[in-house]
Structures are given as C-alpha cells and as structure tokens.
Amino acid sequence: MVKQGVVPEDLNRPFFEAANEGRLVIQNCSACDRLHFPPRAACDRCGSGDNMEWKQMSGRGKIYNYGVVYDCPVASLKEDLPFNLAAIMLDEDPGILMYSHLPGVPADEVPVGGAVQVIFEATANGQKVPEWQVVT
C-alpha cells in the first residue's frame, strides 16, 4: 500500500525528519513529563508551550484494537481494499495511539493485544512514516 505523500509542517517536521532517519520520536512536555501525539503547540495537562521537546521512543507497542476498512475515502488506497486499520498503543504510554495498516497481516486476522514493532515506510513522495509489524 502506497500512502499519499506527506509534506511536513513546522509543528510536525521533527516527527517526519526522524521517520526519514528510522527513528520514532514523540512530543513530550518536559515540565510535566507527558507525551503528546499528534503534536500540539502546548501541553494539554500543564499548558506549557515552552517545554515541548521531542523524545525518542523504543518503537515497541501493542495492538489496541482494529477495524477492516472496506470503503475508503482516500483514492490512492482504494485498490488495496479491504485492509486492516489498527490502533497501536506505545509501550512507553498506552494512552498514545498511532494508526497502522499492519503490513503483512491478512485482513481481519489481527492479533488484538499482540506486540508490534515500528518500521518506516515511504509514502508516494518519498517521505517516510511509521508503520507497525506484528512481532512473531
């Protein structure tokens, strides 16, 4: 599955630059030690906007749950229907979720709760994004 190309913006550029380097980084408020994803201008807990830093993650997580997409609004993904769409909980903080197509896992054969490891996948314009593979 080739996803639409991504054009990073100021707020999320460190996330995408790290992805191109094969690293998963997540915004963290150093004032109250709280992770944030998607990136935000200020901490949703302490309100600080001056202490948002990027913190490298282990790249390990677990599958929260999933759906199987049969009707997708994104034109470039339609030829791949149906496909898995899972929410991944980061090991560092299960409150942080990231989406995944779970490459290599047949549709609707997703091991809920199973361990996953991040990989980085090139989108249509070459920008890499995190994806997740089931750890066997």
């Binding site: 991504v6 913006e9 929410a87």
Partner: protein, 443 residues
Amino acid sequence: MTTQMAPESMYRSTEGLGVWEHRGKVASVGIGHSPTARRWDGRAETSVGALSIQALRTAIADAGVSPDQVDGLVLVPVTTTGAHWPEDQPVPMDVVNAFNPTDDPLDGVGQLSAEWIIKNMPELTNVKFTMYAPGCMSAAIVVAAQAVGDGLASNCLVLKGWHNLEGRYNHGGISASDEVPGSFAISPGRTLWGAPGCFGTALQFAQYCTKYGKNHDMMAPFMQNSRRNGLLFPEGYWAQHRPEQLTPEDYLSSRWIAKPANLFDNDIPIMVAAAYLFTTADRAQDMAQKPVYILNHASSRGVARSITPTLEEVEAETAATGRKIYEGAGITADDLSFENMYDGFAQFHQFHIEGLRYRGMQPGDALDFYQTDISIEGPNPILSSGGNIGSGRSRFWMHTDCMQQIQGRAGARSLTGVKPEIAVSGGPMPMGGNFTVWSATPD
C-alpha cells in the same frame, strides 16, 4: 442585526453546577418539520432555505402564537450533511433570486444566516434576539433554552436545516490529492491511513466487543427496533420514501464499511429541516399545545488524549455526561420514562445509554439489553424515535419524539409500556454533545 455564535458560558459542561437555575421555567410548545428528500433536486422550493421557512412557520402555527409574538431565533448556520457547494460550480442564481438574498449567494442553498431567515419571513417583525449554535439541533436547543431562561427572548424559534448535495462527501478534495500536509497525515480523524467517517466509532465498538465479550450480531434487535420506530414517524425519511422494515437478516448481510460497522450502522444523509418554539413556562400555559418543560441541559466536551478516542475515554465521558444531566435536572436514572440519545452511528447509542445508567445499565450491558423487549410497547423502550437510523440524518428526531410523547401526540409511535413523563435526548458524539431533559411537569 449581527448574529453571534453562542458563547461557551451558555452551556453546562462541567459537573458540580447544581440544579439548573431555570429548571422547569422554559418549555417547548411548538414543533414544525419540513418534508424530507434524499438529495436536493435543485429547485428553490426544495432548498434548505425553503424547507427551513416551512418548518419555522409550522412550528409557529403549532404553538398557536402569531408571528409578531416571536422575539428570538436560534439556528445552526451550517447545513451540510458533509458536502459543500463545489467551488467550480456557480450557485444557481434562479434559486438565489427566488428569495430575498443576502450578500452571500449560498445563503438558503448551502448555509443559513439569521439575516436570510428574517428577510424571507417578513411576518417575523419583532425578532430582537438572534444567536447561532454549532453543528446540531442539540446545541441550538441548549442555547435557546438558556436564552429564554435568561430572559434574552420570550418566544424563541429554534431551527436546524440540512442540505444534501450530489456525490460522496470526503471522497474529493484532500482525499483525492497526491500529497497531504503533515498535520492532516497524523491528525485525529481521516488521516493518511484512510479511515472512513465511522472508523473511530467502529474501533470503539470493536474494543467494546473485545472487553465485554459481545459481537456485532447483537446489534440486530436494536437496528430492527430503530427502523420500526422510524417507520412510525411520519415526518421521517424512511417512512416517507422507503417504508421498508429492516430485518436482522437485512442488517447482518449488509456490506461492511469499516468492519465491525456496516452500511446500516451509518445513518443516511437527507434534506430536511425542523423548528421548535420555546417560551417561558408562564407563557406556555396560554399556547395551543401542552407545554413540555425543560428540566436541564448538559453538555460534554471530552477531548481524546491521542489520535482517536478510546473506549475507555468514551465510557468516562458518557458517565460524566449522565451525572451532569441528572444533577442539573434534580432527578435520577430511575426517573427516566424513556430515552432518545443519539445514534447517527448506531454503534455509539450503547455508550450514551450506559453512561446514563438507563434502567440500571452498567458498561457492557447494553447489547444484552437489546436482546430483551426494547419496543415502544414494553417497559424499557430504547430510542422510541427510531433516531437517525430510523428516520435519516437530522439529529433532531430524538428531540421531537420526546416532545410528542410527553404531549401525547406521537401517534402510532406512542409509548404504551411506560407513561411518558421525563425523557432525555441529545447528542451527537459521546465525547462531545448537548443533552436536554424534558418533562410533562415543571417540577
């Protein structure tokens, strides 16, 4: 007259506010609905503006007031079911000029302003208060109730209109582009991963099934009941255009959109408008219809921690909403005769009613409850309006049904297993919505 969006201070969105200061002092006395249609056919008389005028005039007449007695108007300016007027297509000026236009030609076609309504309802000669509410009738009701209680208006119209244009929304624009901004790629909602609109709810429902050992098949009695109730709602889309019962087999054999959500788990977008007339409890005594008193309004403003709300976040928010609803109304769950919580994705109705602890339900109980008698003839009616699944996407059938049931004019849909005295309606989303408690008496 400049119309402002209602300030957040008009909503009761936190716990601990106590009983609503206007409890039982505001009443609904008039209901007006337009006909429904699947899509706009391009004619002036079927535009969202025309439908809205029709609904407003019907509500005024239903209440038995003269138009010059109306002094307030609360409406939702956004009327789209998802599709906006295409930028590359001219707005049909024959339609625009069939009315008294404002400076914006989309007014009455793809949106509604208070100015447009006033210009096209010259009989409304004394409107002094206008205000906008976001999104849904549920929000407009809250704003109007608070406005009447606060004395900003005495006889206040409440309006929500919907337009539904050709095409599949969210399939054009950024979904069809080769590149997307980073903020879209990893934003809550649609994202680079191609989540359809119902995906977030489907994911919560999947987790619900995992957590409580339930499955999608258990939704079938609820879906059947909703369509049945909807077909008894003569104002609704299915009753007017496709009077077909939905069998469990029909439901379970429908195509998936985002498994475990299928086609029928999504409501059908339509053209329609509805209006109500709110007044003070004192004035209501002299009007044509039995007053339906408002005991409270409450709002939820949940924010997901990450890219999509989890089941756990939803359950916490709906439980808090239930507490706010009861606290402000001065009632308990045992006082509810029936419920009309939102269902525009069928799979979050159970989150709403579990949050209410309706009929003693706890999280994880609703799908088992659906296997019991949930009909309008039974002691535990579920969604007596049939909701958006039963009548199409308007997000206001639930409110109309609460009023009609309490007024004793719900016709073939009338509850017979319970005496309709106190009900709650509202929505849309479990993480963010507005809810109203309706009562046959002011105390």
